[in-house]
C-alpha cells in the first residue's frame, strides 16, 4: 500500500516538474551548466599541465565523451532527475545507489563552494578599477599563510544568499538559463575565434609544448584536474526530468553539448598557450578567461570586463545548481530509504526541502573556510571535485553495463555505440557495450591518478565516503533494513510511471510488450497483458 502511495506521489511530483523544455532550451540549459566549468578549470589545468595543457584537456575530454554518451543512454532510457545515484540504484542495488549518491553529494557540495569562490574571483577582476588591491586583505593565522579575508567573506556571503534564495523557493527560470547559455556560448566562441585571429602566436604554443612540457607526475595531475572542465553532465538527466518527450530530445541535445564543450576546452587551452605563457595563467587562476580575453588586441578593453561579468554570473548559477542538486538528490535518497526522512522535511510556508538546503549550505561554508586555509583555494576545491566526480562516474559506467544485462527490456532510444550482441541461454539477447568498458577503464585511470597525485583529494574524499558509510550502516540497522542488500522496489511500475509522465506513450507500449514477451518465454502470466 505504502509503495503504491509513494509511486503515485512520485508520479505527481514528476508531472509537476515537467516543463516545455525544447531541444534548443535543453542544449543551452546544459551549456549554462557544463560550459561554466572552463572559467574555473582553465587556470588550474594550465597551471598544472603547463605546456602540455591542450593534451591534458584532450585526453580528459576523450574520457568525458564516453561519460557523456553513457549519460545520454541512461538519461533517455530513465528520464529521472536522480542521475548517477538513480542509475546505480537501479543497476546495482541500494548500497551502490547510496555510494553513488554520497559521491554526488560531495560533488554538489564542492560545487557550491568551488563555483561561489570562482564567481567572487571573477567579481574581484573589477577591484583594480575601483583602486582596491585584493592582496591587501591577505592575513596570516599561525601556520596558515595568505588567507584572503575579503574573498572569503564574499564567498560566504554568496553561499548564504543562495541558501536563502533556495529556501524561499526562488530559482532561475529555463528562459534565464537559455539566454545565459546562449550569451556564454557566443562569448566563449568569440574569445577563441578572435584570440586565434588577432593574437595567437603558434611559435609560443610550440615553444611551450617542446620546452615547458611538465614532468609525468605533474602532467598526470593536470590531466586529472582537466576532468573538472567537463563536470556537470548530471544536468543532462536533470533536463531529462523537465523535458517533454525526453527520449526524442535528450540524445540530440546532449551529443551536441558534449562535442561543443570538448571543442571549446581544446580551443581555450590552445589559444591561451599561444597568447600567454602558462605562468601567467597560474598567477591568474581566479579569473583566467577574463584575463585571456583582456589580452586580445582591440577587443580586450571590452572583452575582459565582459568575460569577467559573464563568468561571475554563470558561475553564480552553477553554484546555485549545487544547492539545488544537493537538495533534490538527498530528497531522492530519502525516498528510497537510503538516508533519514529528516532530510525530506519540507518548509511549511515555502514548500522547499529546507533542512537539506540549510544543512548542505553549512557544509559548503565549512569546506570553503577549510579551502581558504590552504595555499591555493581553488586547487584544493578542484582536488575534491575531481575525486567525487570520477568516483560517481565509475559507478555510472558500472550501472550502464549492469543495466544492459539486468534490464534489457527498457526501451533505449539511444545506445552507446560499439556493442557486441550476446545471446543468453534463455534465448534473450544482450548488447554488451564495448565503449562502456573502455569508459570504465578511462575514468578508473583518472580516479587512480586523483588518488596518486591529489594530496588533499585522496584523504578528504575517502574520509567523506567512510563517514557517510558509517551513517548508512547505523541508519539501515536502526530502520531494520539490509545494509548490503536492497529493499524490494517495483521498478517495472516505476518505469511505466516515469515514461507516462514524460509523455513517451509509444515507449510505454514498447516496454509493456517486451515484459509480456519475457513473461511468455518464462511460461508465466504477465501482469502487463491486456487480459490481466
Amino acid at each position: 500500500m505504502s509503495k503504491n502511495h509513494n509511486s503515485t506521489f512520485d508520479t505527481a511530483e514528476r508531472v509537476e516538474l515537467r516543463r516545455d523544455v525544447t531541444i534548443w532550451g535543453s542544449y543551452t540549459w546544459g551549456y549554462a551548466d557544463v560550459g561554466a566549468d572552463i572559467y574555473v578549470a582553465l587556470g588550474l589545468v594550465i597551471g598544472a599541465a603547463q605546456g602540455g595543457a591542450p593534451l591534458a584537456f584532450a585526453l580528459a575530454g576523450l574520457v568525458y565523451i564516453m561519460i557523456g554518451l553513457a549519460f545520454t543512454e541512461l538519461a533517455s532510457s530513465y528520464p529521472v532527475a536522480g542521475g548517477g545515484h538513480y542509475y546505480s540504484l537501479r543497476g546495482l542495488g541500494d548500497f551502490a545507489g547510496f555510494l553513488a549518491g554520497v559521491a554526488l553529494l560531495l560533488d554538489y557540495t564542492i560545487d557550491i563552494a568551488l563555483f561561489a569562490t570562482a564567481s567572487t574571483g571573477y567579481i574581484n577582476f573589477f577591484l583594480p578599477y575601483l583602486g582596491i588591491r585584493l592582496q591587501d586583505f591577505a592575513v596570516a593565522f599561525g601556520p596558515f599563510q595568505n588567507i584572503n579575508l575579503l574573498w572569503l567573506g564574499e564567498t560566504m556571503a554568496m553561499i548564504t544568499f543562495l541558501r536563502w534564495l533556495n529556501v524561499r523557493g526562488i530559482r532561475e527560470s529555463s528562459r534565464v538559463n537559455e539566454v545565459l547559455g546562449l550569451v556564454d556560448l557566443i562569448m566563449e566562441m568569440s574569445v577563441v575565434a578572435f584570440g586565434f585571429v588577432l593574437a595567437w602566436r603558434p611559435e609560443l604554443l610550440v615553444q611551450q609544448w617542446t620546452l615547458e612540457f611538465p614532468m609525468p607526475r605533474q602532467f598526470m595531475y593536470g590531466f586529472s584536474l582537466a576532468i573538472i572542465s567537463f563536470v556537470g553532465l548530471e544536468s543532462i538527466s536533470q533536463a531529462a526530468q523537465e523535458t517533454r518527450r525526453p527520449a526524442t530530445v535528450i540524445p540530440r541535445t546532449s551529443i551536441a553539448l558534449i562535442f561543443t564543450v570538448f571543442i571549446l576546452a581544446l580551443g581555450f587551452s590552445t589559444v591561451g598557450l599561444g597568447i600567454l605563457p602558462w605562468q601567467e595563467f597560474r598567477a591568474h587562476e581566479a579569473d583566467p578567461v577574463a584575463y585571456l580575453a583582456s589580452h586580445i588586441p582591440y577587443l580586450g578593453v571590452v572583452a575582459g570586463p565582459f568575460a569577467a561579468f559573464l563568468g561571475a554570473t554563470i558561475l553564480f548559477i552553477s553554484s546555485n545548481t549545487g544547492v539545488m542538486g544537493d537538495s533534490r538528490l538527498i530528497f531522492s535518497m530519502s525516498h528510497f530509504r537510503l538516508v533519514s526522512r529528516w532530510f525530506r522535511h519540507v518548509h511549511p510556508k515555502h514548500r522547499t526541502p529546507s533542512n537539506a538546503i540549510v544543512g548542505f549550505g553549512w557544509v559548503g561554508i565549512v569546506l570553503t573556510i577549510i579551502a581558504f586555509l590552504t595555499p591555493r583555494v581553488l586547487d584544493t576545491l578542484a582536488n575534491l571535485y575531481a575525486f567525487g566526480a570520477t568516483f560517481g562516474y565509475m559507478l555510472v559506467f558500472t550501472s550502464l553495463i549492469r543495466l544492459r544485462f539486468s534490464d534489457p527490456y527498457t526501451p533505449r532510444p539511444y545506445k552507446v555505440p560499439l556493442n557486441i550482441k550476446w545471446k543468453r541461454k534463455d534465448g534473450s539477447a544482450v548488447e554488451v557495450p564495448v565503449l562502456g568498458f573502455l569508459g570504465l577503464l578511462g575514468v578508473s585511470s583518472i580516479f587512480l591518478t586523483v588518488i596518486i597525485t591529489h594530496e588533499i583529494g585522496r584523504i578528504v574524499g575517502p574520509a567523506w565516503i567512510l563517514i557517510c558509510l558509517l551513517y548508512y550502516v547505523i541508519f539501515r540497522r536502526r530502520s531494520g533494513l539490509p545494509v548490503l542488500g536492497s529493499v524490494s522496489h517495483d521498478w517495472e511500475q516505476e518505469q511505466i510511471d516515469v515514461l507516462t509522465s514524460a509523455e513517451e506513450f509509444d515507449l510505454v507500449e514498447e516496454y509493456k510488450q517486451a515484459l509480456i514477451h519475457r513473461d511468455r518465454a518464462r511460461g508465466i502470466k504477465s501482469r502487463w497483458s491486456e487480459e490481466s
Binding site: 531541444i23 591542450p54 556560448l185 586565434f196 611559435e203 526524442t248 540530440r252 539511444y414
Partner: protein, 88 residues
C-alpha cells in the same frame, strides 16, 4: 529521404523544421567559424613544427565545423521535404 544528422542510433525522427531558427544560425555560424580556424591552426602550427596539439586541435575544429554545417544542411533538406509533402 535525407537521413537525420544524428544518424540512426537515435532512431526517433523529429518533425521537419518549419522555419529558420536561432539554432540554425548558430549551427551555420559555428560551422563557418570552426573550419577556417581549424585550417589556420593546422597550417600555422605545422609550418613551425609537427606537434600533437596542432594536429589534434586543428583536426577537431575542422571536424566539428563540418558536422555543424552538415546538421544545418540536413535540417534544410528536411525542411524542403516537409514543404513538398505539405504541398502534396
Amino acid at each position: 529521404m535525407p537521413q537525420h544528422p544524428f544518424g540512426k542510433a537515435q532512431g526517433r525522427p523529429l518533425p521537419p523544421p518549419e522555419q529558420f531558427t536561432a539554432a540554425d544560425i548558430i549551427h551555420i555560424g559555428l560551422g563557418l567559424t570552426m573550419i577556417p580556424l581549424g585550417v589556420a591552426i593546422l597550417v600555422r602550427t605545422l609550418s613551425i613544427a609537427v606537434t600533437v596539439t596542432g594536429v589534434l586541435v586543428g583536426g577537431a575544429f575542422i571536424a566539428f565545423g563540418a558536422h555543424r554545417l552538415w546538421i544545418a544542411w540536413s535540417r534544410y533538406r528536411l525542411y524542403r521535404q516537409g514543404k513538398r509533402e505539405k504541398a502534396r
